[in-house]
């Protein structure tokens, strides 16, 4: 296991629920699934649980559903919490 540092961006409801726009999380174990990464965020901010099943993550310009899939994070990567979109 390598441990690394991840920058987490919070938008919309997730920003309101955490009171944060951005935070640095470390150490984050790797390899890690998107579900376990979301679990880490829930530990820090239990109120995020109301977004459960209504949220995805974004990493390197890709939307990542929360699940078993491994996210090949590198040290210093940015990960965003993406509640349901409402642009337009």
């Amino acid at each position: 296991f390598v441990k690394l540092c991840v920058i987490v961006l919070y938008f919309a409801q997730s920003k309101d629920l955490t009171g944060l726009k951005v935070e640095e999380i470390s150490p984050v174990p790797t390899p890690i699934s998107s579900g376990d990464l979301w679990g880490l965020l829930l530990q820090r901010h239990p109120r995020l649980s109301i977004l459960q099943d209504h949220v995805v993550l974004a990493w390197r310009d890709l939307y990542i559903p929360i699940g078993e899939e491994e996210v090949p994070l590198r040290d210093g990567d940015e990960v965003a919490v993406v509640p349901p979109l409402s642009g337009g």
């Binding site: 961006l9 938008f11 919309a12 409801q13 920003k15 309101d16 974004a58 310009d61 965003a80 993406v82 509640p83 349901p84 979109l85 409402s86 642009g87 337009g88």
Partner: protein, 146 residues
Amino acid sequence: MSEERRDAFKLSCDWLSIQEVVDTVSSTSCGALSVFIGTTREDEVEGRKVIGLEYEAYESMAQSQFSRLCADIRDHWPSVIHICVHHRLGWVKVGDASVVMAISSPHRRDSQEAIQHCITQLKANIPIWKKEVYDTQEASWRENSE
């Protein structure tokens, strides 16, 4: 006759100029120019009156998702010449445009179909969020239904 094709995207806290968006897609090789303008409707939700919207975006990803959307449009409608989308951020009062988009093509069918696809895909894929603000000072985050 080959002309460089423009994909122009802007997130802006200022009032959106329709003329500026239209000028960006103008081309003497185009006979048709389709425009869509999304505005904030006057609305009442459970007795509270909407007075405006507060927008935010994941800006870097919005730009990359826009590029992807343009590639998709050009795949489906290869005759499309220019694409321009301006989207407001921050406070947008009722009646103001929150998004203005325009697409040009030699013939009208292409730009009309492409603009429908563009707004549908923007709502589905571009990381932008809005919060409805009510006259009671309450607010709630919206969710696009499509």
